[in-house]
Symmetry: C2
Subunit: 378 residues, 2 copies
């Protein structure tokens, strides 16, 4: 890992970032200048001034996405501020380009006030066809996404929530195929009740997973807990049907599926052994998973997925977000509904022709995936 870090620092320093803005038109002659800029552009501005929807046809708006962060929850690193978010948002922007041909640009805001973020994104919206929120800490991210979805007329998605949930659902769908099980018959434990955990629970609930228990750092989220914020309170109402209380180890007894969006090393081999036979482990903490795949396998796990590219079954959001926005932009989708994302997850699952324990998700580099995901967003 140290080597990857050193190489990555070297790459970023050498290139001074990863993204560039280029012209799609020639600027060699006076005529070129007259058409791309003044005086010709006056006709385009005049037309859009009369009908602002023409911006989708005459400008980059129809193909552009803002990748917006406040730097409050950068990867697993925490609150490092807006400048530290730039390399991640640049990275997402080039993935948008490479996998879905989208012109995405990083917007890193120098504020972490909920209302100010909402207001600023609304003021920025005219030039963009969609808004991808990223690395904004919970619980602020919930209100920010909800409000922007409601108050803007372009699609808005917080990728750490709904993009992650889409890929997890796809992976779980294939994991259940491998195990020959259905959603209603399995017990799921989600460890982590932040942005990703909350969104995963919501999506699994909608897809018929009836027995979900959620844990945060204080243990099982139950109705007895008095320390819950409103979002965790909603989770306590919607999950934990058997009324468990206690710690993560307690929650996992007899469980079929562990979904970790928490911290490195928190899942111990003993806990895996206490789960139902041949459990499914999604250990997505980055860069160190909740349990290393070889340890989980040794403790009896049948399927292990992580967020890492150096193990099989990588849960990588790049499988979802480029296609989701491609579909939204191409089909004039103003709100990315959960039903669309469930369909996208199904399409994503189908991209693996024969799922097996080492292959429940497509390769993140598979260029076909985004098109299949996009076709679900309409």
């Amino acid at each position: 890992m140290t080597d990857i870090y050193e190489q990555s620092l070297g790459l970023h320093r050498e290139r001074r970032g990863k993204l560039e803005v280029r012209s799609k038109v020639d600027l060699k002659t006076r005529l070129d200048l007259s058409l791309a800029y003044t005086p010709g552009v006056a006709a385009v501005s005049t037309a859009i001034g009369k009908d602002r929807d023409l911006a989708y046809e005459y400008t980059l708006k129809g193909n552009s996405v803002a990748v917006v962060s406040d730097g409050s929850a950068i990867l697993g690193l925490g609150n490092l501020g807006p400048e530290a978010a730039i390399p991640v948002m640049e990275g997402k922007a080039i993935l948008f380009r490479e996998f879905a041909g989208i012109d995405a640009f990083p917007i890193c805001l120098d504020t972490q006030e909920t209302e100010e973020i909402i207001h600023t994104v609304k003021l920025l919206a005219p030039v963009f066809g969609g808004i991808n929120l990223e690395d904004i800490s919970a619980p602020r991210c919930f209100e920010i996404e909800e409000r922007l979805v409601r108050e803007l007329d372009i699609p808005v998605m917080h990728d750490d929530q709904r993009g992650t949930a889409t890929v997890v659902l796809a992976g779980l769908t294939n994991a259940l195929k491998v195990k020959g099980r259905t959603p209603d018959g399995v017990r799921v434990v989600v460890n982590g009740a932040g942005a990703a955990g909350t969104a995963i629970v919501r999506m699994l609930s909608e897809c018929g997973f009836g027995d979900i228990v959620v844990c945060d750092r204080q243990g099982i989220i139950s109705r007895e807990r008095v320390d819950l914020n409103p979002y965790k309170r909603m989770l306590s109402d919607a999950t934990n049907p058997r009324g468990l209380s206690g710690d993560l180890a307690r929650a996992l007894v007899g469980a079929d599926i562990f979904i970790g969006v928490s911290a490195g090393g928190v899942l111990k081999p003993d806990m895996v052994r206490a789960m139902a036979p041949e459990p499914v482990i999604f250990a997505m903490a980055n860069p160190t998973p909740e349990i290393m795949p070889e340890e989980a396998k040794a403790a009896g796990a049948l399927i292990v997925a992580t967020g890492r590219s150096d193990f099989p079954n990588q849960v990588n959001n790049v499988l979802a977000f480029p296609g989701i926005f491609r579909g939204a932009l191409d089909n004039g989708v103003r709100r990315i509904g959960n039903a669309m994302l469930v369909r996208a997850a199904q399409n994503l699952a189908f991209c693996v022709p024969e799922p097996g324990p080492e292959r429940i998700l497509p390769d993140p580099l598979d260029r076909e995936v985004a098109g299949w995901v996009a076709s679900a967003i309409r």
Copy 2:
């Protein structure tokens, strides 16, 4: 012109805008993904989290400029709103790329409130190495530029003010060479007291032009006028040394130089005939100049400059803004001072080896110009 407009609409529709965002790094292998995105990017974010100035080295910040407008004064078209500004800002962005290798991105704000614009630009600043304000109406543009220059630690320039003034000063410098005159001996009339007019007056005053008279739609700006906003009041204090009052025609009697940043057709041949012999006419209203070059020549003008590419002596901001920001970015300039712009104008004037009546400014397509301008900004 109709033909140019139709062709421009066709070009914009066919390409869906003019700008694209691309990756500067490969994304073909797992290693590529690991270096450009997770996990490698974590090292870059961590480093910037500790020292935010590293964003200049590791991200696009060191080479990026936001082209910001509120759509309130688009070209000569007026207040058409933020969507209508997109094609112009996209046009500027690709000119930044083509002439100075800068990654510029259009930001079109859905507000025309001075404080809200200032605040929003400040919140956006982390990802940008510079801010180019554009097509924001006077007098709001003065406070917006002044405040952002003072309150941000990256260079900010309102191009309609200071970019235009730089090119005008360069053109005038060569016009005076052609005429064998010096700034202190000439009488100048500036028609138009908006963003461009005000900035031109300020820069000419700093360069020794002692006899400047400014007119707005109500006529000569003098201390007797009671209808002046604070910015015009400042102009009335700094100009009009002979205490003239009356209309534009009155101001022009005996003047050597007319600088129009006003409206098409307002300069009549009779007014040109009333000027000093062989006057210099800058008729920069777009797309229709204050007077057509052939009319001005017929009335005795020696030198005529316009904003148009189909006549000689085009006053085009593309001669200045790419080089100004190139120099600011390369030399770590946090404030673009007027002294730097005066030097830039001198360099720009020197780009014409032998000035003549039909050649007081370089060709806007000359790729050498930006480098000379950049060398002045340090």
